[in-house]
């Protein structure tokens, strides 16, 4: 058993992994998650027992980085009590992206990851389940619950 050069993983999957972390975390945090994913993957790579499903393996690492970063963000979030009394309404961009991303950020990290994998990357539930480390019905449930919340919060 020999693993392909790490570069070939990057050539084949880097663009999709980037799309996933940007959708889950936004451009800025997504860029950091992407870098952490590449470094962590390169660190662990020689220890892999098999070269099968390297794409799934990369997404699993990216998912962990997204979860870590999302938890960090929620820990660092300003508590509501400290918020200034007068809050200016967020500027509405013409695309509605801000509202959409605002709603996505409100999802639990797992729901967020599941929704992004399903709807931005078109990944099948079986693969999402592997990435999330849960059963296929649980992956479905995460997508469904995430979607329901998004539908409520996003202006059609």
């Amino acid at each position: 058993m020999s693993l392909p050069p790490f570069q070939s993983l990057l050539d084949e999957h880097a663009a999709d992994v980037h799309r996933y972390v940007v959708a889950a975390m936004g451009a800025h945090d997504g860029a950091d998650c992407f870098q952490e994913t590449v470094v962590a993957a390169l660190r662990a790579y020689p220890g892999l027992q098999t070269g099968e499903n390297l794409r799934g393996w990369l997404f699993t690492i990216a998912h962990r980085k997204v979860i870590d970063r999302a938890r960090q963000r929620s820990r660092h979030a300003v508590p509501v009590a400290d918020a200034p009394e007068v809050v200016a309404p967020p500027p509405r961009d013409s695309s509605g992206d801000d509202e959409l991303w605002g709603a996505v950020r409100e999802l639990s990290p797992k729901q967020r990851s599941a929704v992004v994998q399903r709807f931005v990357l078109d990944r099948p539930y079986a693969e999402i389940a592997v990435t999330l480390g849960c059963s296929e019905p649980a992956a479905r449930q995460n997508v469904r619950a995430g979607l329901q919340r998004l539908r409520k919060e996003v202006t059609p």
């Binding site: 070939s8 990057l10 799309r19 860029a31 590449v38 660190r43």
Partner: protein, 226 residues
């Protein structure tokens, strides 16, 4: 009639979505488009940044880059020890070979090859006679290693024979083994197997092709018989 097809049906039909219980085509499209707009960073640049950071952590076992030369593109690869491979073949074949022989941590990281690529440029411009880069000879073993070490001492523009190298390595009968060492030289050009010809004066084989061998020897001003 496809214009009037229900969007959900269209998604199911084109195979993009197999589960209609959770399909929300409008939301799906908005998410996809918003993601496209949010992807302001060039992924190639992000990869380069990540690999530079990984390199600082000592995670890059083999770095490669392509050098453009008058004899065609050369794939050059280095370990932390030094230059380990110069390949005439395409970069992917070289990377595959190094992943199996050295480590799967093989990535394109041109910065690590800047020095050797600059020296190759100078060599091909006629402004350099000797390469001054650390060499990693881990791909060669035994007698072949000994022959290639002796070969590294053959100066610019000088031609020797397979027999000369066999004698120089105190194994005068090993002409064929010398030939094999040349044929399997992992670091051509820098370890100058193009300077080794047959005793009769004919060029002999070369990994980059006989024309390339002739080109290199003419470039170095070597006295060619043929």
């Amino acid at each position: 009639m496809s214009d009037s097809l229900d969007p959900v049906d269209a998604l199911v039909l084109d195979g993009a979505v197999t589960d209609d219980d959770t399909v929300d085509p409008v939301l799906r499209q908005r998410l996809q488009e918003a993601t496209m707009r949010a992807m302001t960073d060039d992924v190639g640049r992000l990869v380069a940044r990540a690999l530079a950071s990984a390199d600082e952590d000592g995670l890059v076992d083999v770095a490669w880059a392509v050098a453009d030369t008058p004899i065609g593109p050369l794939t050059v690869a280095a370990t932390p020890v030094g230059l380990v491979r110069v390949g005439f073949g395409d970069a992917e074949a070289v990377a595959d070979e190094l992943a199996a022989a050295v480590s799967p941590r093989v990535v394109r990281l041109p910065g690590r090859l800047d020095d050797v690529r600059r020296q190759l440029d100078e060599y091909f411009a006629g402004a350099r006679r000797d390469f001054d880069v650390p060499i990693d000879r881990r791909l060669s073993h035994g007698y072949r290693l000994k022959v290639l070490e002796a070969l590294s001492r053959v100066p610019y523009g000088v031609i020797v024979t397979y027999k000369d190298l066999a004698v120089a390595t105190e194994n005068p009968g090993a002409v064929r083994a010398v030939g094999t060492a040349m044929a399997t030289n992992p670091i051509p050009i820098v370890v100058p197997c193009h300077r080794v010809v047959r005793s009769g004066g004919s060029l002999g084989n070369y990994g980059g092709g006989p024309e390339t061998k002739a080109w290199l020897l003419r470039h170095e001003g070597a006295p060619l018989l043929t």
